[in-house]
Each structure stands twice: as structure tokens, then as C-alpha cells.
Point group: C2
Chain length 213, copies 2
């Protein structure tokens, strides 16, 4: 399986082999190459001309698959949200735990995704924020964050969570995680690794900032 992937995706191999006039899978190849560039050199280093060069096609061929550069970035962001959704779904599918445990798993999955794909996550939110962002992108984002709302709703039925709109309650947690990542550098906040902070923050959110009466 891994060999299959590396054979179809290996850029050098594609370049060396005499390529037919039609690439056959240019859209996929562009997205794959773009993501590699994103993770290694940042979003600003993504260039349609450079990607074309890597894939051995003319610099105008991306046009057939993406109306412009932004469309390619949006497609990359959409894939990001889809994978993000899967990661969060996996983290919450096990219902045999209490609310705090589920919430901790969910937030750890979030932080883990953020650390592994930090440039992609940045691109995802930037694309979503853009004026005139495609509807699919907003929907994909909504879907991913729905996992938290679902966990909160279930926590309410078991009496572990206060009453209120689950979406607005879950906002607090996601916001805290998203912000934690934004405020941190190198996966650390004031020298403490993020994944060590997660458990602490979740407990603080559940118990509140006020001293116990």
C-alpha cells in the first residue's frame, strides 16, 4: 500500500518516466505537491509555476483544474477540514467514558492535529475567513466542530454539563484550544508543552476559575 502511494506520487519518478501528453491525474498531483510545499516551506512558498515545474508540466496547465491560485488553496483547505473532521470523529466515537475524559480526548486530537499540520490549519482558517469563501468550506468547518457540540449535548443528558445551547458551550472549549495554539510558539507556552497544558485547561474549564465554595 505504501509502495503504491510512493510509486504514484513520487515526483522524481513521474518526471523521469516519459510522460504522455495528458498527465492523467494532474489535479491530485498538484494538491499533493502543494501540501508538501505548505508543510515544508509555508503557504507563501506555494507557486503554481514551481508546482508545474516539479510535476513536469507547463506552467499554464493548472488552469484546467483550478480557476486560479486561490482555488487551489481553497481545495487544500477543504481537504484539511475533511481530515480534521475524521480526526475529531475518531477521538469522540468511544462513548464509554465520562464527559471530562471525552472532552480531553477531543481536545488532544485537536492539539495533535494542530501540531502535526500547523501550516495547513492556518491555511484552513484563513481560507474560511476570507470574504467570499466557498460555501463548502464553511460547511466542512461546521461539520468538524459538530463533534464537540455532540459531546456537550450528551454531557447534558447525563447531568455532567450545565444547561444551554451545546454549540455555544462547545465554542468555549474550541476557542480555548484554537487560541492556545495561536498564543503558543513551537508547541509550547512559556516552556510547557501544549499537550501537558490540555488536561489542566479542560479541568479548569469544567470547574471554573472561581475557588470552590
Amino acid at each position: 500500500m505504501l509502495q503504491f502511494i510512493s510509486r504514484t506520487c513520487n515526483v522524481a519518478a513521474v518526471k523521469a518516466t516519459p510522460r504522455p501528453y495528458h498527465h492523467g491525474n494532474l489535479r491530485e498531483a498538484l494538491l499533493h505537491a502543494a501540501e508538501k510545499t505548505l508543510e515544508t516551506s509555508g503557504a507563501q512558498s506555494i507557486s503554481l509555476r514551481e508546482l508545474s515545474r516539479e510535476l513536469g508540466v507547463s506552467h499554464t496547465s493548472p488552469r484546467r483544474h483550478f480557476a486560479n491560485k486561490q482555488a487551489l488553496l481553497d481545495a487544500l483547505a477543504l481537504r484539511g477540514f475533511e481530515r480534521f473532521d475524521l480526526a475529531l470523529g475518531r477521538a469522540t466515537k468511544d462513548r464509554g467514558h465520562n464527559f471530562q475524559t471525552r472532552l480531553t480526548k477531543l481536545t488532544r486530537a485537536f492539539v495533535s492535529f494542530a501540531l502535526k499540520h500547523s501550516a495547513l490549519l492556518g491555511l484552513m482558517f484563513e481560507a474560511k475567513h476570507r470574504a467570499g469563501a466557498p460555501r463548502e468550506l464553511l460547511e466542512a468547518s461546521e461539520k468538524a466542530f459538530g463533534h464537540a457540540a455532540a459531546a456537550f449535548a450528551e454531557g447534558q443528558t447525563t447531568g455532567e454539563v450545565v444547561a444551554g445551547d451545546p454549540w455555544r458551550l462547545s465554542l468555549v472549549v474550541f476557542a480555548a484550544m484554537q487560541g492556545l495554539i495561536a498564543l503558543s510558539t513551537d508547541g509550547k507556552f512559556k516552556g510547557i508543552p501544549l499537550d501537558r497544558l490540555v488536561g489542566e485547561i479542560i479541568e479548569r474549564l469544567i470547574l471554573g476559575l472561581r475557588p470552590r465554595p
Copy 2:
């Protein structure tokens, strides 16, 4: 005073008036023009050549004042953090209130800054996050966020806040705000304006997600 500013900063006036060989204030003028572009068209639209054109100087003259484009963006981010610091400082200087009120004022100031200068805030965090970001930028960020830590420390002395490192406690609040902004679109989350959500979130953070016993 306002007239003075508009006279010295008005780009059209500078362009129309026969300009001496030395601009005299090119560094300032570049930063001012760059911020205008940032707020109206986004960070990606900032171009050294275009700024030079607007100011009526050659496209190579920015080089004397900024080693490269990134240096100009960093300078812009640094100014952002300084203004951010001032805004948060003003919001917390009045000590005649309880912890919840002070915290709400602080977070409202944060959200207000974020809504007024969203592109700048984005640039600030991106610049801070960059590998090899200048030390000044990290220090300026630290200084601004110190206002929250101070409010938490004081809340502890009056028994309104649980024990613990004030920096780590304040992280929860700032993270929540930062994330709230990131997760929202157009200053709204699911149609509800951010400033309406702030009070609700602060109360939730203070009381906790758990139902009252």
C-alpha cells in the same frame, strides 16, 4: 492636532508637492501606507513597489529603512502589539471593580481591537509565530498579555480566583478570546455578535461548565 496629522500623512499632498531628493520621513510614510493597504486589501496586497509608487519614491528606496519586505511587516506587527498593549492597559487600569467586571472589560477591549484591526492582529500573530521572529516582537506580545496575568493575580489576593500560576490561568481566557475571533466570521458566531458572547463566555469560564452542586 488632527490637522497636523493629516497634513504630514496625506499621501496625495506629499505626491503633489515638489518633493526634495530626501523624503525626510520615508520609514514612517512606508509604515503608514502599508497599514492602510493592510486594512483595506489584506496583507497579501502589500507590495514594496506599490508603496514606493504611492509615496513617489523609487522602488528601491525602502531598502534603506527595511532590510526586506518581511522586516517591514515585522515593524508593522511590533507597532500593532504596542497599540494592543495600550488598549489592554487602558481597559484594566481602573481597579475599583470586582474580578469579573475587570476581566469582562479586558476581554471586550481584546475583541474590540480584533474587530477594528483584524488584518493587523492576524499579521501580529503570524509574525510572532514565524521561525526566527525578532525578540522584540515576542517581548511586546508578552507585555500586552501581562495585563491579564496581573488582573488574575489581583483576583487571587481578593479571593475571587483559584490558586495557581496567574499566567497559566489567564491563558485560558486569552486563548478563548483569540479562538473566538478565529472561529467567528464577520464578527459573528452562528449569527450572534461577538461582543454579546463575551459576557456569557466570561461567566461560563468563571463558574465552570459543570452544573452548580
